[in-house]
């Protein structure tokens, strides 16, 4: 997996010789064949369905194989309002997905609770429990936005390294693949957020 000089590479490419590395081949393969987990939570799911249907056609990006089982999925699209009753199930499904796995937090609700943020039963963002790779704002986001997020995720996958100190997290033995599932407490989910995952931006009022 040695680095190859870009100039030499384009020169070879002009002569009809295609040089690649294991890392590029691996990333090229998996970024063009992302299998999302088939589940929707609210109205965003309708947009997700529209993205998978013929007009927007996520199959152009290799993501049309929606899997009904987390064992076969690479990507979790959290599409919609996450209620506190649903949150443990989502974390458990995420835990059951094999590495490498990615999460798209689709819409205002999945990011922060959205318009239902004040609701007693609404989780204020799925990133409190599982690591999110791409956030899409919108209420609901249009299918184009989901496609954009998909392409952003492909870019991320493409830039992940297989070796070295800055290799992708799923290749590091110390990085966990399962995250603690919250339980129903007296008033709220316990714990209300996973401090290892949840890093909210610090507000500085001046």
């Amino acid at each position: 997996m040695g680095e190859i000089d870009e100039g030499l590479r384009s020169e070879l490419q002009r002569q009809g010789v295609w040089v690649t590395s294991m890392q590029e081949l691996y990333n090229w393969g998996r970024k063009n064949s992302i299998w999302p987990l088939q589940f929707g939570l609210a109205c965003c799911a309708i947009e997700m369905i529209a993205t998978a249907a013929s007009r927007y056609d996520i199959a152009r990006f290799g993501g049309e194989v929606f899997r009904p089982s987390p064992r076969q999925a690479d990507l979790m699209i959290v599409a919609g309002t996450v209620t506190k009753k649903m949150a443990p199930q989502i974390v458990r499904l995420y835990n059951q997905m094999p590495d490498p796995k990615y999460v798209i937090s689709m819409g205002a609700c999945a990011i922060s609770g959205g318009p239902f943020k004040q609701g007693y039963n609404v989780l204020k963002g799925i990133d409190r429990y599982i690591p999110v790779d791409v956030y899409i704002p919108g209420c609901p986001p249009r299918p184009e936005a989901l496609l954009h997020a998909f392409m952003e995720l492909q870019r991320k996958i493409d830039s992940q390294k297989l070796s070295g100190a800055d290799k992708a997290g799923f290749l590091k033995p110390e990085q966990p693949s399962e995250f603690p599932v919250p339980a129903f407490g007296e008033h709220d989910l316990q714990p209300p957020a996973n401090p290892d995952v949840y890093h909210p931006p610090k507000l500085e009022r001046v």
């Binding site: 987390p70 458990r92 499904l93 059951q96 590495d99 799923f170 290749l171 399962e178 599932v181």
Partner: protein, 124 residues
Amino acid sequence: MTPNPYLFIVIFAGMALAFPLLPLGLAWLWRKFFQPPKPGVQKNAIYECGVESIGEAQVQFRSQYYLYAIIFLIFDVEAIFLVPFAVAFTGLPIGAFVALLVFLLLLIEGLVWAWGKGCLNWAK
């Protein structure tokens, strides 16, 4: 010289074996050299719908369900035999017709028995 005609079956079997084994072997090599396995309690759980499973999978059904099995058998077997009976109806000799009628009567007798026993009443 013509090759042995069974040679193609050998080649076909070899390809059929190599086709699934090669990706599996590659995946195994990949796991060995690059990706550390990360098993876990939830990842290895049998049920995969996000809900925790409760109890055992090997549950026993009550023996009272035999009635449903019998009624199902009556209608199922009846349907299977009625379709060819209806198709070949015009060309049947009288003996075959009577034989099938007796067979149907046996099944209808079972239905009458179930009816009389009250199995067809909707459970309140």
